[in-house]
């Protein structure tokens, strides 16, 4: 657990008058669960969108497996091996759960128009493999019994799981999850924790945005804290809880010792 998987340097992104990110730098190591926390509007999702190619940063660099991600389209980023979920679930609502996951296989398969029309042996074999893998993934996240249900008919927690299965179908090296526990009850969150731990143990590195501090502290190896688009701390989960700047960002500037909290605007 030492090799660097993703290396971001001095990323900045501005929307009109709002500096969403200013010179944020961090690195994620192979095999860890890396947390990303911060108050609402701190720039967490903006950072996600910059990493996955939805936004291009004004300055800074992102390296992934030693190659730059700058200028790539989201689909190219997915091809390189970063898969993501969305804060407000974005499933293919009118397709079945199974089809959602099968679409995740798109980037790792090849069949084109002629394969589709003539259905040669290669295409048929590929189709069977896509379906087999999709079923496996539904079992893996625990919703195989809902395979033929429309995605929009699934309960909320299952939709979150389906989004994870769909992302895993792209064979990512880094799985980026945007608030996967949002709206889940305690039981569901506990199950999610087991699932994410399992995914990490199976070899996929995870980047996790989360507001549920218990989940973050239990699961994450290291945590990056953003506030007003700036990095205010990056450390092991246990240390983060004691960091005065972090406490200040969450609870307000003057509560803790003024000296330690300087530079953190309220």
């Amino acid at each position: 657990m030492s090799e660097t998987l993703l290396d971001a340097k001095e990323l900045s992104k501005r929307f009109g008058g709002v500096q969403a990110l200013s010179e944020v730098g961090f690195s994620i190591r192979q095999g860890e669960i890396y947390g990303l926390i911060g108050p609402n509007g701190a720039g967490k999702t903006s950072l996600f969108n910059v990493l996955t190619g939805i936004y291009q940063p004004e300055s800074g660099s992102v390296g992934f497996c030693g190659k730059s991600l700058l200028g790539l389209k989201p689909n190219q980023v997915a091809e390189r091996g970063i898969a993501r979920t969305f804060q407000n679930i974005r499933l293919f609502a009118n397709l079945s759960a199974l089809e959602n996951v099968m679409i995740g296989r798109h980037v790792r398969t090849r069949a084109g128009v002629f394969g589709a029309i003539f259905r040669d042996a290669g295409t048929l074999a590929e189709e069977r493999a896509i379906e087999r893998r999709a079923v496996e993934l539904l079992h893996y996240v625990g919703i195989a019994d809902r395979a033929n249900d429309l995605a929009r008919h699934l309960p909320y927690g299952d939709q979150r799981r389906l989004e994870i299965a769909r992302a895993l179908a792209t064979e990512p090296r880094l799985l980026a999850l945007d608030e996967p526990a949002a709206g889940m009850n305690a039981t569901e969150t506990r199950e999610l924790r087991t699932l994410l731990g399992g995914i990490r143990d199976d070899g996929t590195t995870i980047l996790l945005i989360e507001h549920d501090m218990k989940l973050v502290m239990n699961l994450c190896d290291r945590v990056l804290v953003l506030d007003y688009g700036r990095k205010i701390a990056e450390a092991a989960a246990a240390e983060i809880q004691r960091d005065p700047k972090v406490i200040a960002a969450y609870l307000g500037g003057e509560v803790e010792t003024a000296g330690a909290a300087k530079g953190t605007a309220q």
């Binding site: 989201p74 689909n75 293919f92 079945s96 069949a111 590929e126 033929n148």
Partner: protein, 362 residues
Amino acid sequence: MIAFFDTRKNPKLAWVGIALITLALLLLPFAAALVGTAWVRVLNFALLYIMLALGLNIVVGFAGLLDLGYIAFYAVGAYVYALLASPHFGLHWPFWVVLPIGAMVACLFGVLLGAPTLKLRGDYLAIVTLGFGEIIRIFLNNLNTPVNITNGPQGINLIDPFSFGSFSFSRNEKIAGIDFSGPQKYYFLLLAITVLIIVINVRLQNSRLGRAWEAIREDEVAAQAMGINTRNVKLLAFAMGASFAGVAGGMFSATQAFVSPESFGLFESIIVLSMVVLGGMGNIPGVILGAVLLTVFPEFLRYTMEPLQSQLFGRVIVAAETVRLLVFGIALVAVMLYRPAGLWPSEVRKRELTREDNGAAK
């Protein structure tokens, strides 16, 4: 209904069903001819519209890209055939050469329209495609000066019928003891091509590409984040849809022996779009149903409204044409109110799953 044709689950019932439908389709032109030759032509138009509606269904139903200028590709196909197989340029190329050329030229126009509109969605895309459709029509109308290419508003006349050597599709003929009229021969050719297009559509929908189209329709941002190259896949949807229209256009040219720009107005685009929406967007059987209903039903009204009025009131009060459009409009409004997903909406495609899954899905 679909289970009725499921050759895996219920082979006996399914084959009987398929046999009955095939028989009905084979006998249909003869039954129609008993009522009147005009009805055979109506059947041929229904088949042409099925091709068009299925092509548009790829763009609108699968990929979710609202296209209001679709008829332009039909026009391109029709004019390619008209120019290469008529006395206008003195070219008389055989149809099996011209039809693929027509499909390819239409396909090229599909990409031409698709490329600049890749970033547009919904209303904006609809307006651009509408403009594109009009541009093509106006070009066809005006390309008679300085060099006469399209013969302008007069259109192109005396277009060659389809023929294999001495076998012409337009002549009446006795084959194997049965009398075939020209339109009946065309019916069987159109039917064969329509079946081919249906098979291609079904296979496209149940493929990696079809899923990518549906993903873009459902959520373009998520589709791209899952690694789908949305630019290429959207262009492919435009290209495939356009090439089907190109084929249909060539067939239209040949069956009518005459084309002019006024056959390709905005109203035609809207009719084809109505077929897709009314039948059930994205569902192939639904789209076919929509195309058949919207072709046959207005004709039916045309033939019944005036006699009916004479019977009831002793004279014709409202002209058939007026009633036709009125009933047409009311029917559309009613369907949209009571069956907003169309007459035959798509169902969830259920796949047979076993625990170790042997890939036995349909």
